[in-house]
C-alpha cells in the first residue's frame, strides 16, 4: 500500500496519524511546496512577536517523519497527478510514483488585493513561515519604528497587527467590512474588540478601502475611503484565504468553493481524498457542505481521511466553526453562527464590563452560535451544545449563570443517562 499526501500542514499530519492507527507498514510519501517540516501556521504570529523560539513552531517532534516512516519531499510546487493510472510526478519529468490512495491537503492560499500587486518591496503576506521571516528581516534592517498598514481586519490581519504591535511598531488596520473579525463577530462584538485594540494603541479604520496609493518601488502612502492618509513603511496583506486547488486541474474533480468531499472525505475521484482548508465537507448547522478553515477541523478531517485511506469506514460527522483568539490579552471565543443576527433568532446577551461580553444566539431553543469576550469559563460546553443541536428550553434562562454545568446541560441531550459520563 502506498499513500501519497500533497501538502504538509495540519491535515497532512492528521492523515499520517490516522493511517498509522490502522496501517503500520504502508509506504507514506508527503510532497510539499514549502521547505520546512510541518509547522503550525497559526504560530507564525507568535514567532514574529518573539513569544516562541523557532524550535517550537514545529507541529510535531523532530523525529516524527522517521518514526512514522514518512518520506518527505519539500520545496516541490509542480506536482502532477494522473488519476486514471494513479500516478504522481513530484515534478515534471521526474520518476513516476504509483499511489494506491492520494490525499489533497494543500490548504488555503492568500487572496492579494490588486492594488498590492506591483512588485513593491515593502508589501508582505502573512501566511507562511517564510512570510514572517521576511517581515522579521525587514524589521531588523529598518532598525527604527515602522508605520505598518495591515489590509484586512480578520483573524490573520489582527494576529499580524498584534505581533507587529508586540514588536513595537506603529500599527494601522484597514477593514472594508462593517466591523473587525466580521466572519465571526457581529457589529456589537466587533466594536468591543475594536475599542479594546484602539485603547491599546492600534489604529483601526473600519468600512474603509484603499482608494489611492503612492510610491514606486515602495508603497509609501495609502489614501482611504474616508480621506485618511496612511503613511506606510510596510504593508501586510491579510485580505482573506481561498482553498488552494486551482493547480490540480483534474477534469473529474468536483469543486465548489473548495474540493467537494463525501462523508468519508473522498472526492469525486475514486481513491483521492481531500482534507483541511482545501476541502468542502459537511457542516452541521447548515446541513450543507462548507469550507470551514480552522485548524482543529484540518486535523480531524486529515485523521479521518487517513483512516479511510487505510481501509476503515469512518464517517465524518461534520464540523462547526469555532475559534479562540487572544488579542493583546483579551480572550475572544466564538462558535457556530457567532455573527448571526437574523430576525428569527433569539439573542441572550450580557455585558459585565466594557470588555466582558457574552452572547448566545438561539433558533427554536437550539443554540446556534455564541461569542464570549473576556471571561471564557467553561465555554467548551456551549460549543458542544451547538455541535449537538441540543434543545435547551428547560435551562435557557440559566445559560448566563456562572454556575454553568455540564451535568445540567448534558441532561438535555437525547439519550443522556446519568452515571458515568
Amino acid at each position: 500500500m502506498r499513500y501519497v499526501i500533497i501538502g504538509n500542514s495540519t491535515a497532512a499530519i492528521g492523515a499520517v496519524e490516522g493511517i498509522r492507527e490502522i496501517d503500520k507498514q504502508g509506504e507514506i510519501i508527503i510532497i510539499s511546496d514549502e521547505v520546512y517540516e510541518a509547522y503550525s501556521r497559526p504560530l507564525i504570529s507568535y514567532y514574529l512577536s518573539g513569544k516562541i523560539i523557532e524550535k517550537n513552531i514545529y507541529y510535531r517532534d523532530k523525529n516524527f517523519y522517521v518514526q512514522n516512516g514518512v518520506a518527505l519531499h519539500t520545496g516541490q510546487s509542480n506536482v502532477q497527478i494522473n488519476p486514471e493510472t494513479k500516478i504522481v510526478w513530484i515534478e515534471p519529468g521526474s520518476e513516476q510514483i504509483h499511489y494506491d490512495k492520494l490525499l489533497i491537503a494543500t490548504g488555503g492560499k492568500p487572496v492579494v488585493p490588486d492594488f498590492l500587486n506591483g512588485g513593491y518591496d515593502n508589501v508582505f503576506l502573512f501566511h507562511s513561515f517564510d512570510d514572517v521571516k521576511k517581515i522579521d528581516d525587514f524589521l531588523k534592517k529598518a532598525g527604527k519604528r515602522q508605520n505598518v498598514a495591515i489590509i484586512g481586519g480578520g483573524l490573520v490581519g489582527l494576529k499580524a497587527a498584534e505581533s507587529m504591535f508586540f514588536r513595537g511598531q506603529d500599527v494601522a488596520v484597514v477593514e472594508a467590512g462593517d466591523c473587525l473579525l466580521n466572519s465571526i463577530l457581529d457589529l456589537k462584538a466587533g466594536n468591543i474588540v475594536e475599542n479594546y485594540l484602539k485603547r491599546r494603541g492600534i489604529s483601526i479604520f473600519i468600512q474603509n478601502i484603499v482608494e489611492e496609493k503612492e510610491g514606486e518601488d515602495k508603497l509609501e502612502r495609502l489614501i482611504l475611503s474616508d480621506g485618511t492618509i496612511l503613511e506606510c513603511d510596510m504593508v501586510i496583506a491579510a485580505a482573506g484565504i481561498k482553498p488552494n486547488y486551482a493547480w490540480l486541474n483534474l477534469k473529474n474533480l468536483k469543486v465548489d468553493k473548495g474540493i467537494l468531499v463525501d462523508e468519508y472525505l473522498q472526492t469525486s475521484i475514486d481513491g483521492i481524498y481531500a482534507a483541511g482548508d482545501v476541502a468542502q465537507a459537511y457542516e452541521i448547522i447548515s446541513g450543507e457542505k462548507k469550507v470551514v478553515p480552522i485548524l482543529p477541523n484540518a486535523y480531524i478531517q486529515g485523521r479521518i481521511a487517513g483512516a479511510n485511506m487505510a481501509g476503515e469506514n469512518v464517517r465524518y460527522r461534520g464540523s462547526i466553526a469555532f475559534n479562540s483568539i487572544p488579542l493583546l490579552g483579551l480572550n475572544i471565543v466564538t462558535a457556530g453562527l457567532s455573527n448571526c443576527d437574523d430576525r428569527d433568532s433569539e439573542i441572550i446577551e450580557e455585558f459585565r464590563g466594557e470588555f466582558n461580553y457574552k452572547k448566545f444566539i438561539l433558533k427554536d431553543d437550539v443554540l446556534v452560535g455564541t461569542v464570549l469576550i473576556g471571561d471564557i469559563y467553561r465555554c467548551g460546553i456551549y460549543r458542544y451544545l451547538i455541535e449537538k443541536k441540543i434543545k435547551i428550553t428547560d435551562f435557557k434562562q440559566s445559560i448566563l449563570s456562572p454556575e454553568i454545568s455540564w451535568r445540567l446541560l448534558g441532561r438535555a441531550e437525547a439519550g443522556f443517562k446519568g452515571g458515568t459520563y
Binding site: 503550525s40 504560530l43 516562541i52 507541529y59 486535523y299 485523521r303 487572544p326 471564557i376 455540564w406 445540567l408
Partner: protein, 149 residues
Amino acid sequence: MKKVYVIEDFCIGCGTCMVYCAAAHSEYPKDLLKAFKLSSLKPVPRLFIEEEEGNSYSLMCRHCDEPLCVYSCISGAMFKDNRTGVVKVDKERCVGCFTCVIACPYGFIREGSENGRSLPLKCDLCKDSFDMPQCVEHCPNEALRYGEE
C-alpha cells in the same frame, strides 16, 4: 485506563477535593498550608464541582480516547501520553491560545496563567507528584474512586 470517578450518592459537594487538587498543582504539592500561604501564584483546582437539585458531583478531565483538545491544539502542546493515557499540556510549547478550552465538550479545561503567561489548566491525575490523585486520596466521604471504569 484508570480515571477518577464520582460516586454520586456519596458526594456532598464539600470542596475538599478542590482544595487538595489546587494544592497538588501548586509550588508546594505536598504541603497544604504552604501551598495556600506561601505560593507566589494562587493555587487553582483542575476539577469542577457541579450541583443540581441537591446532588453534587466532582468532575474532571476524562482523558478521552478521541481527545478533541489534543486534535484542536494549534501548537502540538496538548498530547495524550501513549504509556499512561493521560492528556497533558507541554507547557514549553503551549502558546496559551485556549483553543483547547473551547474544544473540550465538557468544559473541563480552565483558562489560567502562570507568571503572566496564559496556560490551560487541567487534570493530569496528579501523575507528576503522586501515585494517587489527591482528590481521591483526601475525599472525606470516599465519594471519589480511582480505577478502571
